[in-house]
Symmetry: C2
Subunit: 80 residues, 2 copies
């Protein structure tokens, strides 16, 4: 996480909620490193979803990203 | 978010970091509803990634999910 910080990618998502998500997926035991890894992964996926959503907003002639833009972009990621 | 709460799906990811991720994607203006939508979407995607990771851990004869399991599962989602 330090190295990512050096290169300007701030870690936004907290680790504690990641433990809960992995437990919710059915895991009995969750390592700290896996919770950190999930937070990093969801940040990357989140930016990817947001970029696609931004494209939809621009295509619709809007400068503001709306919930429906995010939902469509996220659905694409979930369905793939 | 209330309805999701009623059905037992707790909202783990905070909204403020979602604003930052959408800005990082290049958006000038971010609606509150889009930040909430991204948080919900990343929770769903996070559980999906964690489920796949759990499968990899079990396949390797482990009960503990490791970072490498998460990374491989997340990479699949990002590449698709």
């Amino acid at each position: 996480m330090l190295i990512r910080g050096v290169f300007g990618v701030v870690d936004e998502i907290k680790v504690a909620p990641m433990h809960k998500l992995i437990k919710r997926a059915g895991a009995d035991r969750v390592s700290e490193e896996s919770a950190v890894a999930l937070g990093k992964a969801l940040e990357d996926i989140g930016v990817k979803v947001a970029r696609e959503a931004l494209g939809y907003a621009k295509h619709a002639g809007r400068k503001t990203v709306k919930a429906k833009d995010i939902e469509i972009a996220a659905q694409k990621v979930l369905e793939r």
